[in-house]
Structures are given as C-alpha cells and as structure tokens.
C-alpha cells in the first residue's frame, strides 16, 4: 500500500551497553549519518542492564539523528538462558528481527570516514566479518577444532591471509 514504507535494503546496528558505548554511539551515528545521508537505516540496541541508566540527552541525540532505539530482551531471544550463559550483547542485538536484506553490526569504537555502499560489501545471505586486532582464542587451533567437532563439523580449510 502506498502509505507503507518499503523495508530498507540495509540495516546498520550497534549496541549500547555502558556509559562509554553510549558516548561513542553518538559519535558513530553522527558520522554515519553525515557520510551516508538520511536514508540509511540505523538502530541502537540498548541492553536491559544499561537501559535505565541511559541518559536522556543520548536518546534525544540519537532520535534527532534518525536512529531507532530498541531494548534487547534476552529472555525473548534465548528463553531460559541463565544470565551467566548469555552470549555477548552484540550477538543478542544481531539476533533481533529487522526488516532488511543485509544486516550490518558495527562496533561503537569506530567513526565513519566516507560513504559506505553496504550493499556492495555484502549481499543478501552473505555471512561476512572483518577481522581486526584480535588474537586467536586461547588454545589456538585445538580450540577451533573442538568447537567444530562439538557440532559434528570438520574445521574448514579456508583462511584469511
């Protein structure tokens, strides 16, 4: 129907789970908006622990920038999950339903430098990641192999050069 907006092709999202990420989220959203214009869909997912502490000025600033605000509800995403066993907040945010073909999770310790053609970086259904600055997990290759074997899979040969 004419009055319904088409879902965005790309949804860019990030997580706010501390006072630090709250401050950084405004810098990220502002630079993303400045470089990519008003049409880019941006969503900030706030963790339930941080939501009551989130400052009004942050909410107002993000709304002014056209950033959607949503609270993550871990009990809906992973019913029955113990708090101690819950995955990181970024991952829970990624699980939230969004009406888009391409979903981009971005960290809040970055700022945008230039326009980004997200559709060209990753197409619908692609699973892509940008490695940056992390070492291998404790246990290295053995830990990877154990992870795959736990789920009956053989570790892939593909490697990032």
């Amino acid at each position: 129907m004419a009055f319904l907006r088409e879902p965005p092709a790309v949804a860019v999202f990030f997580t706010v789970d501390s006072i630090q990420s709250e401050a950084q989220s405004v810098l990220l959203a502002t630079t993303l908006r400045a470089r990519n214009g008003r049409d880019l869909s941006l969503t900030a997912y706030v963790t339930p622990d941080h939501a009551p502490e989130m400052r009004r000025i942050t909410r107002r600033s993000l709304r002014h920038l056209g950033v959607g605000l949503a609270e993550i509800d871990p009990s809906v995403i992973l019913p029955g999950a113990e708090a101690a066993a819950r995955p990181p907040s970024n991952l829970l945010a990624a699980c939230m339903p969004r009406a888009a073909a391409v979903h981009f999770l971005v960290s809040t310790d970055i700022v945008a430098l230039a326009p980004v053609s997200f559709e060209e970086l990753a197409g619908p259904g692609d699973v892509s990641a940008c490695r940056f600055g992390h070492g291998p997990p404790p246990g290295g290759a053995r830990r990877w192999a154990e992870g795959y074997e736990r789920f009956g899979l053989v570790p892939p040969e593909d490697r990032v050069a």
Binding site: L27, S61, P156
Partner: protein
C-alpha cells in the same frame, strides 16, 4: 590466520546470529570455564557452516586503526577504529568529528551532550570552546 580472529563489523541474517547465540549458550553451559570472548570467534563460522553458507572476509582496508589512517592517509578506508577517545581528539580526524557533531546536532543537543559526557569523552580542552 583464520576466520576466527575477530570481527569488528559483520553482516549476516538474524536467524544465523540466533543459531550462533544458541551455539555459544550451549558451549558456555557445557564449559563454564571457557571465556565467552574466545568462543565468540568460533561460533559464527560454525553457524554459517551449519546453515550451508560460506563465510567471507570483509576487506580489512575498510576499517583501519587511527594510527594506520594517520600514517598512510588510507584512501580506501571507510571507518577508523580508535583505541581511546583521547587518541581520537589528538588527531585531525577528531577535530573533524567534533565539527560534524556540532553541525548535525544543533543546540541544545550537542553542547548539552558535551557537558554531560565531558569525562567519558576525554576531551582535552574547554568544552565550551569545542561546543562552538
């Protein structure tokens, strides 16, 4: 180097991430001694494989460190990652970011934001001047 060396930005479908979250949860419950950060790097590739999808790397050139950006004036970079906000304000890029914020967040938003987040933002100078 593997796929597992971390993700600063990632693209995928919520259903796949949900499978990843379930994998992580199963891992954490099975082995509570394992820090989740270490298995996060493994779970996404596993979930992708379970869904019959191939993972691919986004070019690291899209997101560079502040140091690398300043050293080489990376022409193709789309994002800069900073180690701390203090480092960002010490660079020309930091001044540009402040200008952009002042332009897109009109008063009272940006001045008020600066006032409330002065300590968190680690701003070096008088915030009144930075607020424009």
């Amino acid at each position: 180097m593997g796929w597992h060396d971390g993700a600063s930005g990632a693209a995928g479908l919520p259903e796949l991430w949900l499978d990843t979250a379930r994998l992580l949860q199963a891992e954490a419950l099975a082995d509570k001694a394992a820090p989740q950060a270490s298995i996060t790097q493994i779970a996404l590739p596993i979930a992708a494989m379970r869904a019959g999808r191939r993972m691919r790397a986004l070019s690291p050139a899209h997101c560079v460190s502040l140091g690398a950006y300043e050293a080489s004036a990376e022409g193709g970079a789309r994002f800069v990652r900073f180690r701390s906000l203090g480092d960002l304000w010490g660079s020309p890029l930091g001044a540009e970011v402040l200008d952009i914020c002042a332009e897109l967040l009109p008063p009272p938003l940006w001045p008020r934001f600066l006032g409330q987040f002065a300590e968190v933002l680690e701003l070096p100078g008088p915030r009144e001047a930075l607020a424009g």
